[in-house]
């Protein structure tokens, strides 16, 4: 009851002209940043952090929180319209969103993403309000062995992501993991696989790799199809499609709930974020579906899974940040900095001592989640029209320019742009050889989590007779081991079941 009272106070405190205006600004900026390939939510929050120096703590947090939520949603636009995830949290949206756009259903895909993001965002924030202290304690039970298995479990998602050729999917995933080992080793300290190129010491950045692997092959495809007038034709918009899509999305309560829970739980775990959640949710949607073969051909269920989960991560990420002072994702780390900058110390005391700030912040982000729907729809419609109107010969250099801006702004380093271009060309060649970008990026994301878990686990395990036994000594490890084995062999089980049922029919 006290929580509800505080929330009511938070809403009352939020509805002040200046705070509402800042929330609107945050949503607009977030949508634009998210929609531009390469400009991630992290970058957006980091770029606008200095702007908040002159704001009060609650105003600053409302602005940055709204920007964060809207950027995650905005990333779906470029994923759907250009097959280029705006943020790493939208990788999975390309799988079904882009085929929908190519079929002339881009607007329907954007609507689906919008309502799913609304659902996921609200779910995450409500769960944060209800379960924050309890879940924070569970998150603390995760040690290096658990993170190692969590990463391995994440890799098994590849069996669902790689359509047609699972073997090539796993090879692609391992290529991604191998790319993540370039540079200084996180524990051992050796400089690895740099071939004496100083620019590689810092490793392969996720954003340049993501932009390169997804965007450059698309630009090359545009060059190959340069004689075409547009990328694709948008079908005539049906009357009442907004309401119809809303109803159709809300009817899929099981899909929405599953993706929201996955997103929220992954968000709670420090170190895992929307980039993993959207792929796990997609994989789970494929596994749970009666028609898994339709995924990847342009069905709304694929977009629902990814867009619900990545927005649910936002609320999940606030759990360790606000209750323990442990930032789980890079964006949360910047928000942590914003809290410190305002003289606030994240942790359990924040809820008791500065409940006014926390609840105004949550109230602000809840309102922002609603407000981003109309603004996002207007923005998404304009973007869809723009992309379907301009000729491919102009779209190619424009997208190329955006990719350069996106990869440069990560660390204001021109070598990131070169890296993006090199990985882009490599991505195009690999795609032609049957290796998709999805598993490669998943490997790149999970590589550091698995490596740190493995090496730190081995160090902890030195007290045992065999250090590697530590990976089998904890109950939470076994949960992930069982899940990993199950997911790994799920396609085989499904194939057997299909053969058996086919045989029965005959």
């Amino acid at each position: 009851m006290a929580g509800l009272q505080y929330l009511a106070y938070g809403f009352a405190h939020f509805f002040v002209f200046k705070t509402v205006l800042l929330m609107l600004g945050g949503v607009c900026v977030g949508l634009v940043i998210g929609a531009l390939p390469g400009l991630s939510a992290t970058m957006g929050v980091a770029l606008f952090l200095p702007v908040t120096y002159w704001l009060s703590p609650s105003e600053s947090l409302v602005f940055l929180g709204s920007l964060y939520m809207a950027a995650i949603y905005g990333g779906s636009f470029s994923a759907i319209l250009l097959r280029t995830p705006g943020t790493p949290s939208n990788i999975g949206t390309t799988f079904d969103g882009y085929p929908m756009a190519k079929q002339g259903r881009g607007w329907e895909a954007i609507l689906t993403a919008t309502f799913s993001s609304l659902y996921g965002g609200l779910f995450g924030l409500i769960m944060f309000l209800i379960f924050a202290p309890m879940l924070a304690r569970v998150a603390l039970k995760f040690g290096p062995p658990e993170y190692f298995w969590l990463g391995i479990f994440g890799l098994t998602v590849i069996s669902s992501l790689s359509r047609g050729n699972t073997l090539k999917g796993f090879i692609g995933g391992l290529i991604g993991v191998l790319l993540s080992t370039v540079g200084v080793a996180p524990v051992g300290g050796n400089v690895r696989f740099t071939f004496n190129i100083p620019e590689l010491i810092g490793g392969v950045g996720l954003i340049p790799a993501l932009v390169g692997l997804f965007c450059i092959p698309e630009v090359i495809d545009m060059v190959l199809n340069r004689s075409k007038k547009q990328l694709y034709q948008e079908a005539k918009v049906q009357k009442g499609i907004i309401w119809k899509t809303f109803v159709s999305v809300m009817k899929k309560q099981v899909d929405l709930l599953r993706a929201s829970i996955i997103g929220f739980i992954i968000g709670v775990l420090p170190g895992a974020g929307g980039n993993i959640a959207n792929l796990v949710a997609y994989s789970e949607a494929v596994r749970a579906s009666k028609h898994p073969e339709k995924f990847g051909t342009g069905i709304p269920e694929g977009v629902i899974a990814t867009e619900t989960s990545n927005n649910a991560v936002v609320g999940g990420g606030f759990v360790p940040l606000m209750t323990l002072g442990v930032p789980g994702t890079p964006v949360d780390a910047i928000l942590y900095g914003a809290l410190l900058m305002q003289g606030l110390r994240p942790g359990a005391e924040l809820f008791t001592r500065r409940a006014d700030v926390v609840y105004t912040f949550i109230a602000g982000v809840i309102v922002a989640t609603f407000v981003m729907v109309p603004i996002g729809l207007a923005f998404g419609r304009a973007m869809a029209k723009f992309i379907t109107k301009i000729p491919l010969s102009l779209l190619a250099p424009t997208v190329l320019f955006l990719t350069m801006v996106g990869s440069y702004c990560v660390s204001n380093n021109i070598s990131d742009v070169y890296m993006m271009l090199i990985l882009g060309v490599l991505g195009f060649v690999l795609r032609k050889l049957g290796f998709e970008a999805g598993p490669i990026t998943l490997g790149l994301i999970l590589g550091p989590i698995i490596e740190t878990g493995l090496v730190q686990g081995l160090l902890i395990g030195r007290k045992l007779a065999q250090p590697w036994l530590i990976f089998f000594a904890r109950p939470l490890c076994w949960v992930f081991i069982v899940l990993s084995v199950f997911f790994l062999f799920w396609p085989v089980i499904m194939r057997k079941r299909m053969i058996v049922s086919g045989g029965d029919q005959r």
Binding site: N190, L392, A396, C409
Partner: protein
């Protein structure tokens, strides 16, 4: 399937070379790359065997080859992109470099069918986009963009 044979062989050789490099690293730095490279080698051997078996069965897959003319345009765009980054960084700077190279790529891709009016209109629109980014990033948010010589 010959493509798969070649791909698997290249991955196998690269993995072996990188595995050999890990001998120079300490245990904590080498343990994970060795684990990954070992798995990669096993999977590429599986790919190789499968490709050879399919090749023997004479199973044909659809060709992924790009016509020579298209390949020229792809190569030209890639070379121009690298040149764009280099010239932007060292000579022309962010604003001028992006406008010049963007318009050059646009003109090349549009080809002979491009009318002067369209060229001017699209170039102006593209330049406006670049200008908005240059102003908001460089001037408003104070991101240190490549300056070139000017």
């Amino acid at each position: 399937m010959m493509v798969d044979v070649a791909t698997a062989t290249v991955i196998l050789i690269l993995s072996a070379v990188l595995f050999n490099q890990t001998r120079n690293y300490n245990y904590l730095s080498a343990v994970f790359p060795r684990f990954v490279l070992g798995l990669l080698m096993i999977l590429s051997i599986v790919l190789l065997i499968r490709a050879i078996l399919l090749f023997r069965k004479r199973e044909r897959t659809e060709s992924n080859f790009i016509p020579l003319k298209d390949l020229f345009y792809v190569a030209l765009t890639i070379v121009l992109s690298f040149l764009w980054v280099y010239v932007m960084d060292w000579v022309l700077g962010f604003l001028l470099g992006s406008i010049v190279f963007g318009i050059v790529i646009f003109a090349i891709l549009a080809g002979k069918s491009l009318k002067l009016r369209e060229f001017l209109l699209f170039s102006l629109g593209y330049s406006a986009i670049v200008f908005v980014f240059w102003y908001s990033l460089g001037k408003l948010l104070r991101v240190p963009l490549p300056r070139g010589l000017f």
